[in-house]
Amino acid sequence: MIKTANRVLLGLAGLVLVAVGGAVLATGLGLDVPSWWPWDGTDDVLLSKADRTRWRDEGWWWPTVIAVLAVLVVLALWWFLAQLRRGRLAEVLVDSGDGEGALLRGRALEDALGDEAGALDGVSGAKVALTGRRTAPRARVRMLMEPHASPGLALRGLSEGALTHARTSAGLDELPAEVRMKAVKHRAERVN
């Protein structure tokens, strides 16, 4: 959700900047501009005193300006704070089958998954974070590969081992996972 919001808002900000900057640039460079263009020609100014004070005496002007700015401040604050939230899951709802659910600490499931993934052949360490909703969690896995490991095999080990175990032990129908693999930096050497 936040990913889409980020891209839409970044795109909007970009569009506004391109439109205003481009329009001023086109006028300033003396290009022919249509009659509805906000600026008339190179002799025009960005914002004349008459334009700036046009609605100053109207009763609605200052409240509107203040309201728009206040909304902008609140939105920008929300947008900024949303970047800092990691959306990590505190607990997972386990369906015990008798109509009563049980709560599993998210950290416990993360640690179990991470330990099992880190113990895989060719994997030197793994970090797991659970995101999503507590009835439908998602896993984010970072794996660090040892030298001479095969990424394909390590991924298969993770999917068929650790992820399947975590899914069945938490009684989940599915546990979608996003896996990112990196490698330990090392020098080239022969293995005999």
Binding site: L10, G14, W79
Partner: protein, 228 residues
Amino acid sequence: MTEPQDPENSTRRLPTVGPATSGGVLATDRSASGSTYEAAPAPEQPGGRAGRFWSGRRIPAALVALVVLGAAGILLYDIAAVRADHPAMQWRRSVADDLASRHLDDVWVLAGSALAAALGLWLLLLALTPGLRALLPMRRRHTGVRAGLDRTAAGLVLRDRAVEVAGVQSVRVKMSRRRATVRALSHFRELDEVRADLDSVLSTAVGELDLARPPGLSVHVRRPAKKG
């Protein structure tokens, strides 16, 4: 040094491909062998299509949010202060004066608008492109599991496999999103043989990477430069 050596050829220079003149010490050093393979077609994907990873664009979003927050916040504060019969801040008067006095062909106006347009294009690019170019999507063998392999890691795997080929002294791998370029230095065995071995070892290794779009392979083998 305990590098494996072919007992037969250990004392004489090997025949090499290319226009090598006999007798010259440097001539054999210039010889090289290379091959290029186009990327194999994308294999079947039982777990669904493997698309690119899309970046969350958190850092640019946070920066833009902070800029908007700061600008709107200061302006709001000053307008409210003026409403409450305090004098306006100095910067607001000078900005208003500048906006009303500088003509559009003023160099500062031109520079500012060009900068704004360029920044806007950059933000649009950030908004529309996936990013995360260093993360190569892997084949989706299991439903619900999306995996990506770091490009450097893929290069390291190829390098580790390549140095195990007999006759290879050192290897440099340049991994782009579509192609792996492998440059090996070979200090013994025929270059063509070394290259053929490298070709087969590396194409197996590319398969082991399990990427959704297996990269093309370009292999070059050379003799190391003579040390003075």
